[in-house]
Symmetry: C2
Amino acid sequence: MLSLKDLSYLVALDELGHFGKAAEACHVTQPTLSGQLKKLESQLGVRLIERGSKKVILTHVGLKIAQRAKVMVLQAHEMEEFARASKAPLTGRLKLAIIPSLAP
Amino acid sequence: MLSLKDLSYLVALDELGHFGKAAEACHVTQPTLSGQLKKLESQLGVRLIERGSKKVILTHVGLKIAQRAKVMVLQAHEMEEFARASKAPLTGRLKLAIIPSLAP
DNA sequence: TAAAAATACTCCATAGGTATTTTAT
DNA sequence: ATAAAATACCTATGGAGTATTTTTA
């Protein structure tokens, strides 16, 4: 099954255009990111990255997949945020109450 | 990071209302599904399943999360489908040609 | 030749399984 | 009493790291 983590690697590569930088941004090493993207390509059965060119560039399908991936990764973050928010419904109010220096 | 597989377990449980059936639908065993959902709850920091009731029922947040999860799992399938379609652009046409019984 | 990506391998964290116990009808 | 979920424990797959070897600009 597709992994959100792998999809986030593709998004990072698309945005940074560099395996090393993308890996750093994802807090993994370059070989790890490289290997997982290779796995993703085989899972989807399509080439995502254009090899043998001067710059790291995604294929046409690669770009489309990256777009969709970006949406899904964002939704995952929103889900986490939603869960966090549902835990502490009074946070907004409390913030006003627990900062003494704000009281006139 | 959240896993699409775990999210699909939650969707299955929501739809089938039964750990065993959900596990079967996901091609895993009941303890595996049970354990992964427990992990998901700890990742999100919220209780997703109402325990100690007569029927398997999701909490309020659990239902909301399951809704979002369903969308994301669907998008993953659409992504796979998109990749498949981009490999064989003539599939649609061919389908009409290879089913003899549909010809009047 | 100097950088960046790909390979080769090693390791270990954890997803998943089997066996069993606990908990609710 | 019985079906279903939780727990305990074990195994093995694969995600991630280090070291090294291609590439290509």
